[in-house]
């Protein structure tokens, strides 16, 4: 047993739902107790889908336990086929049904439905959501795709976009455009938007574009083996990666690499003088393996940040992420426990967090700016506007998204210049509110050493924190409020490491020198 409050990934059958909901003409019959339908609202609310997910739940109850549940499954399967008339069905069990061992695959096979029925084995107590999506897509491809003649013109399949995927909708457009500029058509995009009949003609493409390894790598490998289709290894997130992707796709297609960069703005924006202040900003990067790898490259090579730490929650990608971390000279954090992530962020004190919805909450708690780069995400990260991560427009979107939470360069400069101004200090409040404005507390984040502020999770005894001398307190107050919390923590850490019991002005400036870059 493992105590958990927050999970980065849902159970594997939610991954299967993401595949089924992304597709059309496919129906999923899920052997599951009453209540598992909660997963529908992820799609109807977070992704704002205007249709119910194509999932029928058997909804067994306590009184059904015994021989009855198998019959319930068969009835539900029949009813679902009759009502929805899908081109193909997938059947499987949720975590509870896995325990009662009804064998949905066997039961469905015995029903002799006139469409392909594909059984899913998703071990709920070992694996998670991304595995569920990857395995489901693989089983669909394996059952439905057949070798066939290639299309006369060069085409590729797009692999990996699903329901509830982070920016999948717009990434498809962006990648389609990159390929189209090379003269490469899209044969099938799957799972998103594809029907089972479309999967049957996957074999006609010349190669596959693996957009999201998390949800489609197994299928891409199977197609490479069984259909002779190579697949792209570069995920085109960021300028460098997009250029490398175009070169790779051109090589696979046997055409000249062409990339019209007229709409790309990230390189100039990053070079313009206002971005000088981004130099060496320390970032912490966390999310799924693919987005973390892409973000680390952009952060260092395209934004001029320093990667202070990185990691991922999906163990399937632990190995490449560890290699990547070594390349950046840091230790990778591979965990699905957000408390570990929080502790690491607290220890590293980065100036920017690039992460998931959970890291956004952690950032809020610690007073550190954060931008979202990976699932799991909430409703605001399924925006109405066009906002891909991939390709050239993706790079533009990423520049804006990452810089937005930071204090802009000029703004930071002005804050420094006028920090002691009588109208422009943190206790003054906003001038456009007139005299009614209430000033903030001006502490720049929670006081880290107030005795009552011990986190309830903290079970260590009271710490002997160094005491601040009056003069040092006054000096600390001259530090701009938005970095004061960090200055306080750094100085205290510095003093504690040297066994100092009192912090004077000297200590403050020694610490500043120590942490300066």
């Amino acid at each position: 047993m493992k105590l958990s409050v927050w999970t980065y990934e849902g159970p594997p059958h939610v991954g299967a739902m993401r595949v089924a909901t992304g597709m059309r003409g496919l129906h999923y019959v899920l052997h599951a107790p009453q209540g598992d339908t909660y997963a529908d609202l992820l799609f109807t609310m977070i992704e704002r889908r205007d249709h119910r997910p194509p999932v029928t739940y058997t909804t067994f109850q306590a009184r059904d336990l015994g021989s009855d549940t198998a019959e319930l499954f068969t009835t539900a399967c029949h009813a679902a086929y009759e009502r929805f008339r899908p081109q193909a069905m997938i059947v499987g069990a949720s975590c509870t049904a896995e325990l009662i061992q009804d064998d949905p695959g066997g039961l469905a096979a015995a029903m002799d439905l006139p469409v392909p029925v594909i059984p899913l084995e998703l071990p709920s107590y070992q694996r998670k959501e991304n595995f569920g999506a990857d395995e489901t897509f693989f089983q669909l491809v394996r059952h439905l795709a057949r070798p066939m003649a290639r299309t006369p013109e060069v085409t590729a399949n797009l692999f990996g976009p699903t329901g509830l995927g982070f920016r999948h909708r717009d990434d498809i457009d962006e990648v389609t455009r990159l390929l189209s500029d090379l003269g490469i058509g899209v044969n099938v995009c799957a799972p998103m938007g594809a029907t089972p009949a479309d999967l049957a003609r996957l074999g006609a493409a010349h190669f596959n574009v693996l957009m999201y390894p998390e949800t489609a790598e197994t299928a891409a490998r199977w197609c490479e083996r069984s259909l002779g289709q190579p697949f792209t290894k570069t995920v085109p997130i960021g300028v460098g990666a997009t250029r490398a992707f175009v070169a790779e796709a051109a090589r696979l297609a046997g055409v000249d690499a062409r990339l019209d960069e007229s709409r790309l703005r990230l390189p100039w924006y990053a070079r313009s003088v206002d971005s000088t202040y981004l130099t060496g900003k320390r970032v912490f990067i966390f999310g799924d393996g693919t987005h973390v790898a892409a973000a680390a490259r952009i952060a260092r090579d395209e934004m001029g940040f320093e990667v202070a730490g990185l990691g991922c929650y999906n163990r399937e990608y632990a190995r490449p992420v560890r290699t990547l971390a070594r390349d950046h000279g840091v230790e990778a954090l591979i965990t699905d426990d957000y408390l570990d992530v929080e502790a690491e962020i607290e220890r590293l004190q980065p100036e920017l967090i690039l992460g998931t919805q959970m890291e956004r909450h952690i950032g809020k708690r610690l007073g550190i700016p954060c931008a979202v780069i990976s699932a799991p995400v909430h409703v605001q990260d399924f925006p109405a506007r066009y906002s891909p991560q991939m390709g050239l427009e993706g790079a533009n979107v990423i520049f804006d998204t990452w810089v937005h939470p930071l204090v802009m360069g000029l703004e930071e400069h002005l804050l420094h210049m006028f920090r002691e101004d009588f109208e422009f200090h943190d206790a003054a409040g906003a001038s456009h509110h007139g005299r009614t404005a209430r000033a903030g507390t001006g502490e720049g984040g929670p006081a880290p050493h107030a005795p009552a502020a011990h986190s309830p999770r903290d079970i260590s005894g009271p710490k002997m924190d160094p005491v601040w001398a009056r003069a040092a307190e006054d000096e600390l107050r001259k530090v701009p409020f938005f970095v004061r919390g960090k200055a306080r923590r750094n100085t205290e850490a510095f003093a504690a490491a040297r066994g100092l019991s009192e912090i004077g002005v000297e200590t403050l400036y020694e610490a500043k020198a120590r942490y300066a870059r």
Binding site: M1, S4, T7, H13, P33, Q34, D36, Y57, L65
Partner: protein
């Protein structure tokens, strides 16, 4: 308000269905129960699905140091059962060491823990003994195979009843977790009527838990408390039947039943209730303009559907087409059913696809349903009201009558306001 109907719906036929239920399981109750019981922790023993459900239902609340979590069963827990109890002991010890402010710990059963027959009752006894007197450990099941949505609260309160200390005194017990602001209003009204002493189940803190005995009388504030009702009767307490306190009429009838029990003079009742009744009637009038003459269709969700349909039909002039409820407790629901004129289809349980067929045939003006159905139905051109909001928002008693009516009026007003189709 119209006079009560000559015959209500108490003996109307009920369509009982089974099939796919588009509802939450009882675990969801934790999301509001833990806000009410400020020193309690709810530990679900279940799977990743259970943790994922709580996270999806609790939304952003999850990061404010929540007092709930899931002990996720792993493969080795399923292999041998003896081990699972030790694992649980270890996780509980770690949890309680980390959260010394916790005084009550609920081990909440889930579908997986019920199916493998993990004995959480025995675990609760053992852990209670180990962590006494500081922490009391109780257990109940919020599994989907046994409970639907709000029934999780019923199972929780029913588990507490046998543990309440015995006391023989004529006291009134209010049963059901109400938002604090509403509970305070209830206590003020009852005190003005001279009814007392009054206690609440659940109490906000462990040390304020009520006493119970043969002289206790109790009133339910929520309709989904069948098992708690039975558990209290087993302790000798007596229930005061009444319609549930939604709307001006419901609140007045509910208070009147308590006033009769405690022999409150009619003059005093009138004096205490006249002003808030008038306020409530004024507050409902604005929303009733939007709602009057429109039809409403309830999908099953919380068991609040019947009293809410009573409020909408009698106080807002709506017409109910179908009132679906996950479970219909005839005895508890009787007073509300008596006030609903015959006509609406009553259904218990669900076969969601068939119910959707009936909905599409009826094309009601407003559909009350869960979040999994709301957007798809809006896309079909049907106005909807998310049912879950009715459980989280303060909606009981006089001062909330206007808010309650507005919850139903707002989606209809919004449809009238948006002129997007015309712009295309």
């Amino acid at each position: 308000m119209p006079p009560p109907p000559a015959t209500g719906c108490r003996s109307a036929p009920v369509l009982k269905e089974r099939g796919q239920h588009e509802v939450f399981c009882g675990l969801t109750g934790i999301v509001w129960l833990h806000r009410k019981m400020q020193d309690a922790f709810f530990l679900v023993v279940g799977s990743r699905t259970c943790a994922h459900l709580l996270q999806s239902a609790a939304g952003v609340m999850i990061f404010a140091e929540p007092r709930f979590g899931t002990a996720i069963l792993e493969e080795q827990d399923l292999a041998g059962l003896a081990d699972a109890q030790e694992e649980l002991d270890r996780e509980v010890a770690r949890l309680l060491a980390r959260r010394p402010d916790i005084r009550q710990l609920f081990l909440v059963g889930s579908c997986p823990s019920e199916v493998i027959k993990l004995d959480l009752a025995k675990a609760a006894q053992r852990l209670s003994a180990r962590h006494a007197p500081h922490v009391r450990v109780l257990n109940y099941s919020g599994s989907g195979i046994e409970t639907t949505f709000t029934q999780g609260e019923d199972a929780c309160l029913a588990a507490m009843v046998p543990q309440l200390p015995e006391k023989s005194a004529r006291e009134l017990l209010l049963v059901g977790a109400l938002p604090d602001v509403v509970e305070d209003q209830a206590l003020r009204l009852l005190s003005d009527l001279g009814i007392g002493p009054v206690r609440c189940l659940p109490a906000r803190r462990a040390e304020d838990m009520p006493l119970v005995g043969p002289d206790t009388v109790f009133a339910l504030t929520q309709p989904f408390l069948g098992d708690t009702h039975a558990a209290l009767e087993r302790r000798g307490a007596r229930h005061i039947p009444a319609p549930f306190p939604f709307g001006e009429e419901g609140t007045t009838e509910w208070l009147a039943a308590l006033a009769r029990e405690f022999d409150v003079p009619a003059g005093r009742f009138e004096q205490v209730t006249a002003a808030p009744r008038a306020r409530a009637r004024r507050a409902v009038a604005a929303a009733a303009e939007t709602l009057a003459g429109r039809s409403v269709f309830f999908f099953p969700d919380s068991q609040l559907e019947i009293p809410l349909a009573r409020f909408l039909t009698r106080e807002c002039g709506m017409e109910a087409i179908e009132i679906g409820t996950p479970y219909l407790h005839k005895a508890l629901m009787g007073p509300d059913l008596d006030l609903i004129a015959p006509g609406p289809n009553l259904s218990e349980g669900q076969d969601v696809d068939r119910q959707l067929d009936r909905l599409r045939a009826a094309r009601p003006d407003l559909t009350v349903c869960g979040l999994g159905l709301a957007n798809p139905l809006e896309a079909e051109g049907l106005a909807t009201k998310w049912a879950i909001e009715l459980v989280f928002t303060p909606v009981h008693l006089y001062e909330q009558v206007g808010d309650l009516a507005q919850l139903f009026a707002r989606p209809l007003r919004r449809r009238d306001l948006l002129k997007l189709e015309a712009a295309e």
